[in-house]
C-alpha cells in the first residue's frame, strides 16, 4: 500500500522536475501532463475514483490541450523558448532557494506534527452518494461554480479576441 504511494509520488515529482528543467515548451507541457496523470493515479490510490476521472478529463484532457494551443499560437521561430540569459542565473538560484526553503519548512512541519491516521478505514465514496451530496447540501455551491465557469470562459473569449482597433497593430 505504502510502496505504491512512494512509487506514484516519485513518478509525479520526477515528471514535474523534468518538466521545469526542459527547454522546449512543448516538452515541458507534455511532461506536466505526466505529472497530472500521476496525481490522478494518487486519487485512485486514495479511493476517490470520481476525482481521478475528473482529474484526467480536466487536466490531462482539457487543460493540456489549451496549454498546447497557447504554446503553438505564441510560438515565433526559434525564440519560442526563453532567450538564453533573459532569466539570469541569479533569478533561477533565488527561485530554487525560495522553493527549497518552502519545502524544508513544510517538511519539518509535517514531520514534527503528531499525525496518526484514523483507525477507521474511509468508507468508499460511490458516485451515487457524491451526486446526492452535490445535489443536496452543495447545490448552491454547484450553481455558483457553474456561473463562475461561464463568466470565466466568456471573459477569456473577450480577452483573447482581436478587436477592430488592435487588428491593424497586429499586422505590423
Amino acid at each position: 500500500m505504502t510502496s505504491v504511494l512512494v512509487i506514484l509520488a516519485g513518478f509525479t515529482l520526477a515528471a514535474a522536475a523534468v518538466a521545469f528543467a526542459l527547454r522546449p515548451l512543448v516538452h515541458c507541457a507534455l511532461c506536466l501532463v505526466l505529472a497530472w496523470a500521476g496525481v490522478a493515479a494518487f486519487y485512485l490510490w486514495a479511493g476517490a475514483e470520481f476525482l481521478a476521472f475528473a482529474q484526467v478529463l480536466v487536466y490531462v484532457g482539457a487543460i493540456s490541450m489549451v496549454v498546447l494551443f497557447a504554446v503553438l499560437l505564441t510560438r515565433r521561430q526559434a525564440d519560442s523558448d526563453e532567450a538564453p540569459g533573459s532569466g539570469g542565473a541569479g533569478r533561477i538560484a533565488a527561485g530554487l532557494a525560495v522553493a527549497a526553503v518552502v519545502a524544508g519548512v513544510l517538511g519539518r512541519a509535517v514531520l514534527g506534527a503528531n499525525l496518526a491516521p484514523s483507525p477507521v478505514a474511509a468508507r468508499p465514496l460511490d458516485v451515487r452518494r457524491l451526486g446526492a451530496e452535490l445535489a443536496g447540501a452543495y447545490a448552491p455551491a454547484l450553481l455558483v461554480a457553474g456561473a463562475l465557469l461561464t463568466v470565466a470562459l466568456i471573459g477569456a473569449v473577450v480577452i483573447a479576441a482581436t478587436d477592430a482597433e488592435t487588428r491593424g497593430e497586429d499586422r505590423r
Partner: protein, 103 residues
C-alpha cells in the same frame, strides 16, 4: 512512516516543485503551469486528510477538490487568454519584457 505523513510530504514536495517552476522560468505559460501544479498539491492535501482524517465518512474533502478543479479550469482558461493578449501586444511571452505597466 504512516501513509498520511507520506501523502503530506508528497504534497509539500509537489508544491515546492510548482513554486520553483513558477519562480525560475521566465515564460508566462510555464509560470501558469507552475501555479496549476501548486493547486494540485493543495488538492492532494485535501484528499490525504479526507482519506486518513478523523471523520472519513464525510464527503467534504472530495467535494472541495471537485470545486477546486472547476476553479482551476476557469483560472487556466483566463490565464492562457491573458497570455495570448500579452503576445499580441509584445510579440513574445517573456515576463521580463512585460513592463508596459511599470511605474
Amino acid at each position: 512512516m504512516n501513509p498520511l505523513t507520506l501523502c503530506l510530504l508528497f504534497s509539500g514536495a509537489l508544491f515546492a516543485a510548482g513554486l520553483a517552476g513558477a519562480l525560475c522560468r521566465g515564460n508566462a505559460i510555464l509560470v501558469l503551469l507552475g501555479i496549476e501544479l501548486m493547486l494540485n498539491a493543495a488538492n492532494v492535501n485535501f484528499i490525504a486528510f479526507w482519506r486518513f482524517g478523523p471523520s472519513p465518512a464525510a464527503a467534504t474533502g472530495v467535494v472541495f477538490v471537485l470545486f477546486a478543479i472547476a476553479v482551476a479550469a476557469a483560472e487556466a482558461a483566463v490565464g492562457l487568454a491573458l497570455v495570448i493578449a500579452v503576445y499580441r501586444h509584445q510579440r513574445n511571452i517573456r515576463l521580463a519584457e512585460a513592463v508596459r505597466l511599470k511605474g
